[in-house]
Symmetry: C2
Subunit: 207 residues, 2 copies
Amino acid sequence: MQGANDEVRVKLGDPAGRARRPRADAVRNRERVLEAAKVVFSQGGESASLEAVAREAGVGIGTLYRHFPTREALFEAVYRREVEQLVDLVQVLKAEASPAEALRLWLRANVAFVATKKGMLAALALATQKNPDLMAYSSDRLTRAVGELLARGVSTGEIRDDIGPEDVLRALIGMCYAQERPDWQASVLRLLDVFVDGLRKPGRPAA
Amino acid sequence: MQGANDEVRVKLGDPAGRARRPRADAVRNRERVLEAAKVVFSQGGESASLEAVAREAGVGIGTLYRHFPTREALFEAVYRREVEQLVDLVQVLKAEASPAEALRLWLRANVAFVATKKGMLAALALATQKNPDLMAYSSDRLTRAVGELLARGVSTGEIRDDIGPEDVLRALIGMCYAQERPDWQASVLRLLDVFVDGLRKPGRPAA
DNA sequence: CTTGCAAACGGAGGCACCCTCCATATTCTA
DNA sequence: TAGAATATGGAGGGTGCCTCCGTTTGCAAG
C-alpha cells in the first residue's frame, strides 16, 4: 500500500525522515505576519482584528491562519520573542551590580519594557487565562531568570530566603497591570523599592 | 410658552422639575439585565456576548442597549456594585484590628473576593484601559477606603508615611491579576505579608 | 374605568469580523 | 524544464455588534 513512495522523503537528506525544508515564501510570510502582529497588537491590543494584521503584513487572511491557526497561537509567538529580551538582560545585570541592586534594576527594566507595550498587556491577561501553556513558557523562562538574581542575594545573606522567584515575578507582573494613571510608572517604581526593601533580611535596614 | 403644562411635572413630587419617575417595567428590566450580566460575565469574561446576557435576562437585545448603550457601560454598572462591598468592609475592620493588621486583613479579603470572579478580571483589565472613568470611580472609592486604614497606621507611627493609598491599591490589584497557577492565592497572601512588612517603619521589625 | 400618549420593548437588518475551504500560483527537486 | 508538493489568498457561511423603528405597555388625567 505504501512501499516505494517513501523514497521521496528519504532522499531529502533528513535522517529522521521528516518532509523537505519549508519553502522560502512560507518562511518570509510567517516573518511578515509576526512583524505586523507586533505592531497591530501593540496599538489595538486584543480588540485588533486579525484581518487588520493580515492587511498590515500584506498577505491574505488565509495565509495568516495557515501559519497561526488561532488568535492565541499568533499572540503567543509574538510574546515569546519579547520574553527572550528580558531573559537576556539578566546576564548583563549579574555582571554589573550587587544582588539586591541587580534585582531592583531588572524589575525596573521590566517596567520600562512594559511601558512601550500598553496595548498588549490587557490582551496578554486574556491570553494567559485562556491558554495556560503560554504562561507556562514565559513563567518558566522569567522565573529562572529572576531566580538567578534572587539566589545570588540569598547566598550572600542579603535577601531573605522564604520568598521564591515565582512570588517576585507575580508581584512584578501584577504591579504593571494597573497602568491607567499618567504617573503609573513612578508609582510602580516606588512599589518595587518597597518590595525590595521587604525582601532584605531583617536587621539589614535599606539605607 | 410653558405655563400650565408644567403642572404635570410639579405634581410628581420632584422639586427640581425633572421628568416623571421611571416606569416600573424599565426598573425591573434594568435590574434583570444587571443580574444576568453578573452571571454571564463571571463565567465567560469579556468574550461573553451581550446577546447571551439579554437572553439570560429574558429581554430583547434592544432593551439591553437602551439601558446600557455600550458594553463598557454595562460592565461598569456591574462592577460598581462589587466595589461597594469592599468599601463597606473597611468600617468593620477598623473596629476590630490594629492599623497594620486591619490593612493586612483588608488586603487578604480582597484576594478572597477576587478569587470568586476569575472570569471578570481579564475583562476588567480591558475595560479600565479603555474607559478611564470606570477606574476613576473604583480607584476613588477604594483609595479612600484603604486611605483610612493607612492614615490610622501613619498617625500611630506604625506605618511609614511615604507610601500613599494609591500605591497600596496598585500593589493589591496588580498582584491579583497574575492568577494562573493552582496556588496563586497562597502566593499573593505571601506577597502581601512581605509588602506590609515593607510598609512598617524601619526599626519596627515585623515579628 | 377609559382614554391618550410618553416611555419602553424587542427583534430585524446592515456591518465587521471570524474562520474554512479550495482553485490557483509558486517553489523545489530531479 | 517538468511535475509534484507546498503555499497563497479571498470568497463565503456563520456569529456577534449595534441601530432603528413599528408595536406594546404603564401611567396619569378625566
